[in-house]
Amino acid sequence: MAQKKVSRTIKDINRKIKEGKIVVVTADEMADIVKRKGPRKAAREVDVVTTGTFSPMCSSGAFINFGHTKPAIKASHVWLNSVPAYAGIAAVDLFIGATEPAEDDPLNRVHPGQFKYGGGHVIHDLVAGKKVNLTATSYGTDCYPNREIKKKVTLADLPYALLLNPRNAYQNYNCAINLSKVTKYTYMGVLKPNAGNANYATSGQLSPLFNDPYYLTLGLGTKIFLGGAKGYIIGPGTQHNAYAKRGKNGVPMEPAGTLMVKGNLKEMDPKWVAGVSMLGYGCSLAVGLGIPIPILNEEMARFTGISDEEIFTRIIDYGNDYPQGEATSLGQVSYAELKSGMIRFNGQDVPSVPLSSYVRALEIAHILKGWIEKGEFLLTEPQEMLPTVDRT
């Protein structure tokens, strides 16, 4: 007997959320359901699949307005806890980037540098409700005569604070090894010589963009979990590349799509926006991000049903190749293999090490699931889709 094809809209889904009849599962549960029942049955049963990722995401930062002072100032240089912020905006606006180190940081003068405090830590301290020292200097104008201010601010005092991350949630990332003879300190963590370890990022089957590989359901205006609060996708992130090499299942096998996201910093939780220090590399911000994927049809059930054995990435040498700008793939490895703790590389067993927290990623998928089930979170229609490629 031919059964009707599954087709639902975001409106249908929101109606079900309001009626308390919504069926939400996490992406790892969906992998299991699709394996057991097939995508058609899964599509009939499940309305929404929640995803999550928690990882250092360097391209992050915050737009802050610190309010007018008496006498007034047109800030040209600003520091937050001695971390320089970009002040070339309006009088009292600034952007603090996650990777900016404190001005007096010894950097890599004693290699590998510690990078104890930077922009990511400032954002974390603000979200944690801590007082932050703000210093601003200026050349003085007729309308803004003040040349220097120093004050302590908390997030609550700031008139406006927006987390705005130009590139988050990378769809796939390299697996990094080091084929040189010395230890390398990279943004992919500590890499021991002679392929001593293989570091990887992304939460595999839980990772948002692995569950919608062609960006069919998300774009500008999609509501997401960001830093413990509700945030939005506002477009493709920097370096978004839909043309990356894809497997037969449509899933990219190298770094591909990225997202630009925003959210109200004042609503966030320090657990989900944490300052980090990458030894010998620099400061960053670990960001928690989760996206609900609407199961509009059988195809979306198939996409969200993907599991770690079907997701592959490439192995790149960060000892010699990558620093030279040569990202040559030395082979493919699946996330199932990476998560097992050991990969096979050139006939050698290499311990694999995650940089992205699977435990936290799963927690995000569950929080998002809870919000939707309780009717606290409705899905939104994207107003403009991300650049993509034709499905194969």
Partner: protein, 141 residues
């Protein structure tokens, strides 16, 4: 940057030497004295935290030993700040004893203190700086 808590025992012949000044000037080290006592028979005991480049640190300690000072490092303990640790697993790349390991399939990162040798490699390799060195203060006070 390298830093360790040391206990120094001086024979009476060196009590009058400007040892700490030399550590700073000749070896470019900085220190923080936690305890300094001169016993009746004129021997001295000092507990200090000595910091600087690893190489200068080693040269400084060699200098102290050449003067007849007994140098011992004070018991240290590694702790994990459970609020700061976000369970990524990056530390498992450097831990030589398997004290930090991943429990599968949950992917939870476990810290087994019994297996920890206090080598401190995880302290700066942890992006969240959740691994902390605690000194055994009972030896100092």
């Amino acid at each position: 940057m390298y830093s360790k808590m040391l206990s120094l025992r001086f024979p009476k012949t060196v009590v009058n030497e400007p040892i700490t000044v030399n550590l700073v000037k000749k070896f470019d080290l900085s220190f923080n004295i936690l305890k300094a006592t001169i016993y009746p028979r004129k021997e001295g005991l000092m507990v200090l935290e000595l910091s600087g480049h690893r190489k200068s640190f080693q040269r400084g300690v060699r200098y102290l030993k050449s003067l007849g000072v007994k140098v011992e490092s004070i018991g240290q303990d590694i702790k994990r700040d459970e609020d700061k640790c976000f369970q990524c697993g990056a530390c498992t790349a450097v831990c030589p004893t398997g004290a930090l390991y991943i429990e599968r399939p949950e992917m939870a990162v476990i810290f087994d203190r019994e297996k920890c040798s206090a080598c401190e490699l995880c302290v700066s390799a942890c992006p969240a700086r959740a691994m902390e060195v605690k000194f055994d203060r009972s030896l100092v006070y």
